[in-house]
């Protein structure tokens, strides 16, 4: 623009740097805390440079767990991983099939089916939490992966995303496949799926993060320690009686809980942004 660029650029760099530091600081403190012993943290004078206890804290958290949540964190991470992947894959499977039906077939109840699915967008699980709990309990699904995953799949985001994408695929492709004698299955497998790969990947990234970070639902339906997810595990490590909280283990666990989803965002940034922008439209 017409103004001197130099001054404005310095201001921009400064603002952004401050922003980045402020955003990173809470996580930096958690990483620091995971490198000290309990005593250093408790006395309230934790140094601002890393200590030397990381080699003790991480193996202990991963393989034997804290005093309050006795399960090893590695087990919680496995649970979180199964839940996150289950939600992502489950949602992709059911929604790509239903979007295929709604977009590429004409049948009497098409509009109705679409609206029945669409309405679920409006109500997050938090508002129907106890009745859902009761149904899952009646089905005998408490403390199971199925119980963790299924209720969180029941939503329209994926269906809408695939529907939107299918709409942009030119009709000529279907006409061409039909001339080639392809039926619905062939068209789905050989044309639709390959074209949808990026959309599938973007949805997977978003749903993985969503699933990994779930809190209220796993809190309600897991009672066994062996079914705990890592996000729940941390909460249990921090007790109201300060003396019992092993902050170094809790913060080590917090770091471990952040690593997988943050890595996904950083290394699959393009897919992540695509998924985020398109699921919200």
């Amino acid at each position: 623009m017409v103004e001197s660029r130099r001054y404005r650029n310095i201001l921009a760099y400064f603002t952004l740097t401050v922003g980045i530091v402020v955003v990173a600081f809470p996580v930096y403190l958690a990483i620091l805390a995971s490198t000290f012993d309990a005593a250093t943290i408790i006395n309230g004078n934790m140094p601002l440079l890393p200590g030397d206890q990381a080699g003790v804290n991480y193996p202990r958290a991963l393989f034997s767990g804290g005093r309050m949540a006795r399960e090893p964190v590695s087990m919680m991470m496995v649970n979180s991983f199964i839940m996150a992947v289950g939600i992502a894959v489950g949602k992709i499977l059911i929604s790509i099939l239903s979007a295929f039906a709604v977009v590429y077939f004409s049948f009497p109840l098409r509009k109705t089916a679409f609206w029945v699915i669409f309405i679920t967008l409006m109500l997050p699980i938090e508002v129907r939490i106890y009745p859902t709990y009761k149904i899952v309990a009646d089905l005998g699904l408490l403390d199971t992966y199925t119980g963790l995953i299924m209720p969180l799949i029941a939503s329209a985001t994926g269906t809408l995303l695939f529907r939107q994408f299918f709409m942009t695929i030119p009709d000529e492709l279907l006409e061409a496949s039909k001339i080639d004698g392809a039926g619905p299955f062939r068209f789905f497998k050989d044309t639709l799926i390959p074209l949808s790969m990026t959309t599938i990947a973007a949805l997977f990234v978003i749903q993985f993060i969503y699933g990994w970070n779930q809190y209220l639902w796993p809190l309600l339906i897991t009672t066994k320690g062996s079914m705990q997810t890592i996000v729940i595990g941390i909460k249990k490590m921090i007790t109201t009686q300060d003396a019992l909280t092993e902050w170094q283990i809790a913060m080590t666990t917090a770091v471990l809980a952040m690593v997988p989803p943050v890595l996904v965002v950083v290394f699959m940034q393009r897919l992540f942004v695509k998924g985020l922008v398109e699921t919200e439209k």
Binding site: M1, V2, E3, R8, N9, A12, L16, G19, I20, V23, P26, V27, L29, A30, A33, I42, G44, M46, I94, S95, L97, S98, F100, A101, Y104, F105, F107, A113, I117, M122, L123, V127, R128, I129, Y130, P131, T132, I135, M150, P151, I153, T159, D171, I209, N213, Q214, Y215, L216, V231, I234, K235, I238, D242, M251, A257, P261, V265, V273, L276, V277
Partner: protein
């Protein structure tokens, strides 16, 4: 908009829809309708029998001072988080939009907190501001403030607002940056040549053109604070001290679980459903209007 070319099959489309419909009915429609039905029932203390009491649960709910308190808390919480996170994100997005070298790097360094679970965000912030061991609690205490979010409701709310804002900035930043980059540079350049200062250009051109994004984000942020902050509240304050940080969603959870008041909890769920449907309707109406432009 519909496809011209279609398959015709009598059974196949239903078979394809079946998995989603079954899951949706069992885990969505059934519980949602049960919540509505239960809100008209009164269960005895052991859950053995229940009788139909009409709007009694609702009347009871609106007679509780705590319910109004939770409403006020929710409004204060969501307004503070929305204003704070939107303005921080807008500031950062306008700066990142200035075609800086390393622009993509800045983006990466600002969006990663999206991946942090709300409950974990809460844990990070309570650790930082813990009254006895928090690194940032010490300077606050040195200033002569008796900082204690475990006992002081205002301090607890401040901590909640900060942690919820921290987590939401990345999301708002991403959408603001996309919105800014969609504004044609020629419009802004024309204003610059006419002698409009950067600040004036922002308020008279950029900000109005950004309003669809801003509006969308306001609705998303309110929904976020309503529901996704459950984990933050449970980790940081547990609704306390003395219920001063209990929001509407937290109250549904607390009344149903700790109080065992299922009818009252269900009535609260129904009211929340109405609020969310209203918010979504506002959003859709707005989007439709945008399409017509």
């Amino acid at each position: 908009m519909e496809k011209r070319a279609l398959f015709s099959s009598k059974i196949l489309p239903y078979a394809l829809l079946l998995p989603q419909l079954v899951i949706t009915i069992i885990f969505f429609y059934l519980p949602a309708s049960q919540a509505i039905w239960q809100s008209f029932l009164l269960e005895d203390a052991f859950g053995l029998s229940s009788e139909f009491v009409g709007f009694e649960n609702y009347r009871h709910l609106f007679g509780q001072p705590e319910y109004y308190k939770a409403m006020v808390t929710t409004v204060v919480f969501s307004t503070s988080v929305a204003i704070l996170s939107l303005s921080c994100a807008l500031l950062l997005a306008t700066q990142a939009d200035k075609q800086l070298r390393g622009g993509e790097g800045y983006k990466t360094l600002l969006i990663w907190p999206y991946a942090v679970a709300p409950a974990i965000a809460g844990v990070l912030w309570i650790f930082m501001f813990h009254p006895t061991l928090g690194t940032l609690a010490r300077p606050i205490k040195a200033m002569g403030i008796d900082w204690n979010p475990m006992l002081n409701g205002k301090h607890a709310m401040t901590l909640l607002v900060l942690s919820a804002t921290w987590k939401q900035i990345s999301y708002n930043f991403l959408f603001f940056l996309a919105g800014l980059q969609a504004i044609p540079k020629s419009v802004i350049e024309a204003a610059a040549i006419d002698g409009a200062s950067p600040l004036r250009r922002f308020w008279t051109i950029i900000f109005p053109l950004l309003s669809p994004t801003t509006f969308f984000l306001i609705v998303v942020n309110i929904v976020y604070v309503f529901f996704d902050t459950f984990g933050i509240i449970d980790a940081v304050t547990g609704g306390g001290p003395a219920g001063q940080t209990t929001t509407l969603v937290y109250k549904v959870y607390a009344d149903g679980r700790l109080g065992g008041d299922l009818g009252g909890s269900a009535a609260q769920s129904v009211i929340l459903m109405i609020i969310v449907i209203a918010l979504t309707a506002v959003q859709f109406r707005y989007i439709e209007r945008k399409v017509q432009y």
